[in-house]
Subunit: 132 residues, 2 copies
Amino acid sequence: MLLSEIPKKVKELIDDKNIAHLATLKNNGSPHVTPVWIDRVDNTILINVSENRLKLKNMKNDKRIALSIVNHNDSYEWASIIGEVIDITNINADVHLDKLSQKYLGLSQFPWKQKGETRIIVKIAPKTVYYN
Amino acid sequence: MLLSEIPKKVKELIDDKNIAHLATLKNNGSPHVTPVWIDRVDNTILINVSENRLKLKNMKNDKRIALSIVNHNDSYEWASIIGEVIDITNINADVHLDKLSQKYLGLSQFPWKQKGETRIIVKIAPKTVYYN
């Protein structure tokens, strides 16, 4: 069952410029976790990844993911989210990356794009949220 | 194959007071990820968890884990570690918790211990390390 509403405090953690840590599953079922930028549209969480990343391959193979987010101003406020990938698309992914760049770096254009790099938006529906 | 030596830069990330994010596997194989304190003895990574935590249950059930660590002074320096639980023990776990409290909080005694709480040290051998 998907969560109908992300709790307010967790929305605030997502909306602030906090790094999230995204856990995905490798082909053999073992976990993999890396830091990611994150934002949301209502109750859908969005991340933006380069097309050739292992985490994307993992999420295409198994849509089960988890996220951990700590408040960068207070390490003891955090959320752990279990969710499911509901869409993978390249539509508007470059515009979305610039939006994340504005949020996290204060730069209107993402400064580290590689030549020929394709960006992908991964949309995630939270299933359970633990907030501490 | 276990890693013989953690790279120097990653040792520095572990030795500094950076929060790590530990991914474990639930019974059904889905990922779970939460923030943890971390330290190491040589090339073995140590975390300290309360006995009743889901992450401990997960690691008893499946020893495959992953860790993500970001430099709290520079969010764009980070490491992603894939590893394996090699020991779970309560021996010296309270002393170890106080050591972590000193590292992360500057307090010689962990301030949030619950009455009757049993602490456990989980020892992790890194298998692969990605440093960025």
